[in-house]
């Protein structure tokens, strides 16, 4: 099994606070890997490092053989590594259709040699038509075709998540990082979403998932990695993880002190988003 993404001994510290101590993992081409762990374990931080939103204090991330060190988020996106966000997954003031059009940004670049000039003199016609067709197809595929002309910010929570996925897919990624995609979804929405994840994988896209909904994680994952206090504590197929004593300890053994520490780590991460 060849690794599409390798996280090589990455550490992240904010001032004196350790968000990730030492993370080392490989994601295999074509698998669905889940990253789980209690609040504050460092999952979102890991996502931010992989996608260039945070610079690791140590270590390196390689994607399809290319080191991502020093690359900006947009450059990483163009390499084919896409992600969704936990909290805000849409451009709220635009229609769903335009959201996807924005997502197709990188695709448009390949169509015109001088895109800005083309836009100014109005030569973007053919390329634009192609993009629009692709946006429509993509929306139909994720099941948002009927919502295309609605403001994305006005959609229900679950639908906004779907827009977020469509946006990420619009970049034609080789790998997709999903950050708590089903949180806030009801059971039937979650079921639909699981089907969508599988379909995405069938298109040949590798998936790394962060999620708290354990039944969902167990159902969809090929492999699971467990993080606690910024450290990898377990790794394996869902059945093995379910019975791993270290994992149970991590989830159940959270005393009030541990929870507070976790909350602090969470706050720091959010500051990092700002």
């Amino acid at each position: 099994m060849s690794a599409i993404l390798s996280v090589d001994h990455v550490g992240v510290r904010f001032g004196g606070l350790v968000a990730i101590a030492d993370l080392h993992l490989d994601v295999a081409q074509g698998e669905i890997l889940s990253l789980i762990g209690p609040n504050g374990a460092g999952k979102t931080t890991a996502f931010n490092v992989m996608t260039g939103f945070l610079k690791p204090s140590q270590g390196d991330v390689r994607f399809r053989g290319t080191s991502l060190t020093g690359l900006s988020p947009h450059a990483i996106a163009r390499l084919g590594l896409a992600r969704t966000f936990q909290r805000t997954s849409v451009f709220p003031d635009d229609t769903v259709f335009d959201n996807v059009m924005i997502g197709l940004h990188g695709q448009g670049a390949q169509m015109a040699r001088a895109p800005l000039l083309a836009a100014l003199i109005g030569r973007a016609g053919a390329g634009e038509r192609q993009l629009r067709a692709r946006a429509e197809a993509l929306l139909d595929w994720v099941g948002l075709g009927a919502r295309a002309q609605e403001k994305a910010g006005a959609l229900a929570y679950g639908e906004q998540r779907l827009v977020g996925v469509a946006l990420a897919l619009a970049t034609e990624p080789a790998m997709l990082l999903l950050d708590e995609p089903v949180s806030g979804m009801n059971a039937s929405e979650t079921r639909v979403f699981v089907r969508l994840i599988r379909q995405i994988r069938e298109r040949g896209i590798t998936i790394l998932l962060v999620e708290h909904d354990m039944p969902m994680v167990m159902e969809v994952s090929d492999r699971i990695v467990v993080l606690n206090y910024g450290r990898l504590i377990a790794e394996g197929p869902p059945e093995a993880i379910r019975s791993d004593p270290a994992v149970i300890e991590a989830y159940l053994g959270q005393g009030s002190a541990a929870r507070r520490a976790a909350a602090e780590a969470q706050a720091t991460r959010e500051a990092a988003h700002a």
Binding site: F53, F91, A119, G164, A274
Partner: protein, 344 residues
């Protein structure tokens, strides 16, 4: 509606001088308003479409005015070590083009430097930049005449090879020149906003992290927006210089930036018609207020009107009115408010 309103406005602006019977005072007010409106449109490109509030926008306007004026007047300055730059006067049209280029170049510089910071920092860097430029214009007396003002700037002339050269001396000619440039700028912004580049700008404004994650290069996009915006402001400044035919460092006044910001915000930032409608209202408001109240009171009204508009129609007059006209049911409130952390 979307296409009709701009066309109707253009048509009425085209025939307006006939209605006014070329009343020079009102024409003058309209020309100045038009020039400021072009400035407002250019500001809208940054403030409205990328969400970056530049309060130093007047710098580009003023640089355009000075470059254009100096190109057409000629100058002779010492640049140190005994070297001198001597420039013979060129026609104003060349000044106009150079003004656009120079302002655009400054836009590039400022874009590269100041988009490292966002929010309040960005605002203050841009203010500082404008003030430094103003102080240079004030103190580099050999080049700019400083506070003594550049006088005798030639009127704009338009030449067509083989057909001859026209100098636009009258108000009416200048009015149509400003209207023409304004229309061009409007079309340019409209084109840009509807393009892939425009979507990138909107994406950055609405959710920067998400925009980055779909491969939009923030620095590049914002810098290009700044260049185009600055170039447009420079064009407006050039029109201003050749129309008024005198400029002094007061063209860099902070209050003019504030006027432009008010025009954009009141009209509706991020809309095409917003700065035009806002420009017309706030450009002509002082003219309308002049006969009815004391000058100090006019400014008090100006300030209060700004606050009231922000309160009543926080998104501006154009979006506010079009929502009202459409009489649609109010859209359901967004269930998920974007987190302030990301918006910042």
């Amino acid at each position: 509606m979307r296409r009709l309103l701009p066309l109707a406005l253009l048509a009425s602006l085209l025939v307006l001088p006939l209605l006014l019977q070329a009343n020079p005072y009102l024409l003058n007010a309209l020309i100045i308003t038009g020039i400021l409106t072009i400035g407002a449109m250019s500001l809208n490109l940054l403030l409205g479409f990328t969400g970056q509030l530049s309060l130093g926008h007047i710098a580009f306007f003023g640089i355009g005015a000075y470059v254009s004026a100096l190109t057409s007047l000629g100058f002779d300055v010492e640049i140190g070590f005994g070297h001198r730059i001597v420039h013979e006067p060129w026609p104003p049209a060349a000044g106009f083009l150079l003004a656009i280029l120079a302002a655009g170049a400054c836009g590039y510089l400022i874009g590269r430097l100041s988009f490292r910071v966002r929010g309040a920092y960005f605002v203050i860097v841009t203010i500082s930049f404008a003030e430094v430029v103003r102080l240079v214009a004030l103190n580099w007396v050999e080049l700019t005449q400083g506070p003594l003002a550049l006088t005798g700037i030639p009127a704009m002339s338009v030449g067509v090879p083989g057909l001859g050269n026209w100098t636009l001396r009258t108000k009416l000619q200048n009015y149509y020149l400003v209207l023409a440039v304004g229309t061009l700028c409007y079309l340019l912004v409209a084109r840009l906003v509807g393009s892939r580049f425009g979507r990138a700008m909107r994406g950055l404004k609405e959710n920067e992290s998400l925009a980055l994650s779909v491969g939009i290069n923030a620095t590049r996009t914002l810098t290009i927006a700044a260049v185009i915006s600055a170039a447009m402001a420079g064009a407006a400044g050039s029109l201003y210089a050749h129309y008024l035919r005198i400029i002094d460092p007061d063209v860099f006044a902070f209050s003019t930036t504030v006027s432009m910001v008010i025009m954009v915000v009141a009209g509706g930032k991020g809309t095409l018609m917003g700065p035009v409608i806002g420009g017309l209202i706030f450009g002509l408001l002082p003219v309308a207020l002049r006969p009815v109240m004391a000058p100090e009171a006019q400014w008090i009204v100006y300030g209060i009107v700004l606050i009231v508009i922000l309160f009543v129609m926080p998104r501006g007059i154009v979006p506010g009115l079009s929502a009202l006209l459409a009489r649609r049911r109010p859209a359901p409130a967004p269930l998920l408010k974007p987190s302030p952390a990301v918006q910042r």
